[in-house]
């Protein structure tokens, strides 16, 4: 059980929730969150937006039953966190683009900070795509070298992948595929890492409901992922 420290509404449907929870979370990892007993059945996978030794925070978008329950939590309420789960973005350095669509921007705050902390000489350009209203741009700006925001259009239009050593992306599958094609077209498909948001049940690798077909056979999005080389999952 973790205590809610704050749970702030950022826009029509984006919220930032901070919880008290001892952790050592890697960039790109997620937690299974649960703020109810019996209904709905499944806990909800949410990426760590930020994580310190005894706090984890989550950027989430209300899309249904579970996230709506989250949005009604108040400071002092309790939530169950299971995690951190899954693998992390690769600990690389150099010039890195991180491209998030919608709430897929969530992991890149932690990712940008972690890479900057490990190799301050790295250059990080963040590309954030929103459908109606940009949020947390100041916070993201503090984490990265540049932040490019697109509201209502295609964030993938803004980026030239050939300029980067690595590209990380998270967001709607269609957006990630478009980006992969763009990378492939400029001969650098292998630079791209994606975070797959498959539906999950156990979150720990036991039930196989989150399997991703990859060029190396099935992989579990929750345990072998969520981060994969794009060529592994889209290169089929």
């Amino acid at each position: 059980m973790a205590e809610i420290l704050s749970n702030q509404r950022l826009s029509r449907d984006f919220y930032l929730m901070e919880t008290a929870f001892p952790n050592t979370t890697g960039m790109g990892q997620f937690y299974m969150l649960r703020a109810w007993k019996e209904y709905p059945i499944l806990s909800r996978p949410i990426s760590a937006f930020d994580a310190g030794p005894d706090k984890v925070s989550f950027l989430y978008k209300t899309v249904g039953t579970g996230t709506e329950i989250f949005s009604r939590l108040r400071p002092g309420d309790e939530i169950t966190l299971q995690g951190p789960l899954g693998n992390t973005f690769p600990e690389v350095s150099g010039s890195i683009a991180m491209v998030g669509g919608g709430v897929g921007i969530a992991p890149f705050n932690l990712a940008a900070r972690r890479i900057k902390a490990a190799s301050p000489e790295s250059r990080i350009d963040l590309y954030l795509g929103f459908s109606d209203e940009a949020v947390l741009v100041d916070q993201f700006s503090a984490a990265a070298d540049t932040v490019t925001v697109n509201v209502g259009g295609f964030i993938t239009d803004e980026i030239d992948p050939s300029r980067y050593d690595y590209v990380f992306t998270c967001g709607p599958e269609i957006m990630m595929k478009v980006l992969f094609e763009k990378c492939r077209a400029s001969g650098c498909g292998d630079k791209l890492y994606v975070s797959m948001e498959n539906r999950m049940a156990c979150g720990i690798g036991a039930c196989l409901v989150c399997s991703c077909r990859t060029v190396h056979g099935n992989r579990k999005a929750c345990k072998d992922g969520p981060v994969f080389r794009a060529a592994e999952v889209f290169g089929l």
């Binding site: 649960r34 019996e38 209904y39 709905p40 059945i41 499944l42 806990s43 299971q82 539906r199 999950m200 049940a201 156990c202 720990i204 690798g205 036991a206 039930c207 196989l208 409901v209 989150c210 399997s211 077909r213 056979g217 099935n218 345990k223």
Partner: protein
């Protein structure tokens, strides 16, 4: 843990009657990182097939009111892969090792059983009822006479204790259970998932590529409990009950309805420590009631 929960199941001793259900716990490694698996009575492996399978395409999980639908489609490493990579590890644990075997043809079942004859484990759980395999896997579990035939053939080759896992989609689950007993099954487990459907109204298409998928979880518990009760009354071999068990109270209902052992599937997704909590809860309850053994309330309803 005291002896209150010790349970004999067809000659196999369980330290307690709580087992992780097939397909919801892989081969146990992941849950063993969350709690000590040896707290449980047993574990039933992911359903194996003779050859490795990649499972179904498309969405594999869908939430419904107090239930989940899954369409994993028996993704598994095959009997040989299991024997090579998982069996020794499970055998190294102090709990009952149940191997769940699925199939698409009688030949596959027989060949799988024969391969498994060569290795050590405690119980073969014959899944004649997986609803997620198009190619007929279902039928064995629906019609009594098909089930009878599979069980007869497998019994004649199988050297392990044989438990047949029944489908709630069976036309007459009581008659089917009796047929299993007549053909020499050592026990019955039930229920597998209910054949069910969900439609994506925006896409105007079924959610699942196979159209139908398997429903499990608390939603179906009252039906599962009724079936366990009917079957337990109809056969003399022991019964493993499951279907929506999430708490020790639920487990106790199944035991009172006649189950010797209970399995926890979907419950582990709601709380990864549900199964050991159920074992603890049953033990405290039995102690609080002054029972000598949990067996005293088995089948009292």
């Amino acid at each position: 843990m005291s002896d209150l929960l010790k349970t004999d199941f067809a000659g196999i001793p369980f330290k307690n009657p709580v087992v992780l259900a097939s397909g919801t716990c892989g081969f146990g490694r992941e849950y063993n990182e969350i709690f000590n698996l040896e707290k449980l009575g047993g574990i039933s492996s992911k359903g194996l097939t003779l050859r490795a399978r990649a499972g179904n395409e498309g969405i594999r999980i869908w939430e419904t009111a107090s239930g989940i639908m899954n369409s994993v489609g028996l993704e598994n490493p095959g009997v040989r892969g299991f024997i090579q990579n998982e069996l020794d590890w499970i055998n190294s644990l102090d709990l009952v090792n149940i191997v769940n075997l699925g199939g698409h043809s009688i030949e596959d079942y027989i060949e799988g059983t024969e391969l498994l004859n060569e290795v050590r484990f405690d119980i073969l759980e014959l899944n004649i009822s997986c609803p997620n395999v198009k190619a007929g896997g279902m039928n064995f579990g629906v019609k009594t006479e098909f089930a009878r035939e599979v069980v007869r053939k497998i019994r004649s080759v199988c050297r392990h204790t044989l438990v047949v896992k029944l489908s709630p989609n069976a036309e007459d689950i009581v008659a089917l259970a009796r047929a299993c007993e007549e053909e020499g099954a050592d026990g019955i487990s039930l229920i597998n998932t209910f054949l069910a459907m969900a439609i994506d109204i925006n896409k105007r298409k079924p959610v699942f590529e196979n159209t139908y998928a398997g429903l499990s979880g608390p939603a179906i518990r009252p039906i599962a409990l009724r079936m366990v009760n009917q079957v337990a009354k109809a056969v003399t071999i022991p019964v493993m009950g499951m279907g929506g068990i999430t708490s020790w109270q639920d487990a106790l209902e199944f035991i009172m309805a006649g189950a010797a052992v209970i399995q926890v599937g979907t419950g582990s997704f709601m709380d990864p420590k549900a199964a050991p909590a159920i074992a603890d809860g049953l033990e405290s309850w039995a102690a609080s009631q002054g029972l000598g053994s949990i067996g005293e309330v088995r089948g009292i309803v």
